[in-house]
């Protein structure tokens, strides 16, 4: 069974479109994350959710909106896609709620979604 899954694996779309990436974890974890990995492999956290509540919201354009219908899912919706949004987006989860306990947490990553904006 896949621990953290993402769909789709590849997404090619035109500028200006709206798209969503879905993430699900079956580990029973409380915290989920979205990361963006650019073409130079640099990884940056975008959002963190704990039990459906937003914990971290880094400097990300408001065209990006995470949605957590339940603690096993954290979807990423992107409006008005731009060329610079092309990247690999990783979802991850960890067990403990954000806070001091998170210092010891292992994050489990999904396989990534490669988004290409034309």
């Amino acid at each position: 069974d896949t621990a953290v899954s993402q769909t789709p694996k590849y997404l090619v779309t035109q500028m200006g479109n709206d798209k969503s990436i879905k993430c699900e974890q079956n580990l029973g974890h409380d915290t989920m994350y979205w990361y963006k990995q650019d073409s130079k492999k640099f990884l940056k956290i975008m959002f963190s959710y704990n039990n459906k509540e937003l914990i971290i919201n880094e400097t990300v354009p408001n065209r990006f909106s995470p949605k957590s219908p339940d603690k096993a899912h954290l979807n990423l919706h992107i409006n008005s896609l731009e060329l610079g949004d092309s990247a690999v987006y990783f979802c991850a989860s960890s067990q403990a709620p954000s806070g001091l306990a998170s210092r010891t947490d292992t994050q489990y990553f999904g396989p990534g979604t490669r988004l290409t904006v034309l």
Partner: protein, 110 residues
């Protein structure tokens, strides 16, 4: 603000020789430190982590890392490289947030 530096963007070693991937962090307090590995077209997988217990940490696949507070370093080592070790390696610090280093690509030559 915390930051993570990986001094080498690319390291190339021969199979069977030692591996050293360097990581330095800056933080106002001792963070938790992690090494993750990313194989091509895959997600990241935890290799090992330091969480203020033993300073020498052993991980999977024969990797280990030593936390040296005086040097603010957490270098990753392996005595003998294997072809399957070829991947991207990320050093990560957690103080108030997870901060990733820029990554080091490890190539293993036959």
């Amino acid at each position: 603000a915390q930051s993570v530096t990986q001094l080498d963007s690319h390291v190339s070693v021969s199979e069977g020789t030692p591996v050293l991937l360097r990581c330095n962090y800056s933080s106002s307090y001792s963070p938790s430190l992690f090494w993750y590995v990313q194989h091509p077209n895959k997600g990241l997988q935890l290799l090992l982590k330091y969480t203020s217990a033993a300073t020498l940490v052993k991980g999977i696949n024969g990797f280990e890392a030593e936390f040296k507070k005086s040097e603010t370093s957490f270098h990753l080592t392996k005595p003998s490289a294997h072809m399957s070790d070829a991947a991207e390696y990320f050093c990560v610090a957690y103080g108030q947030n997870f901060v990733f280093g820029p990554g080091t690509r490890l190539s293993v030559l036959p």
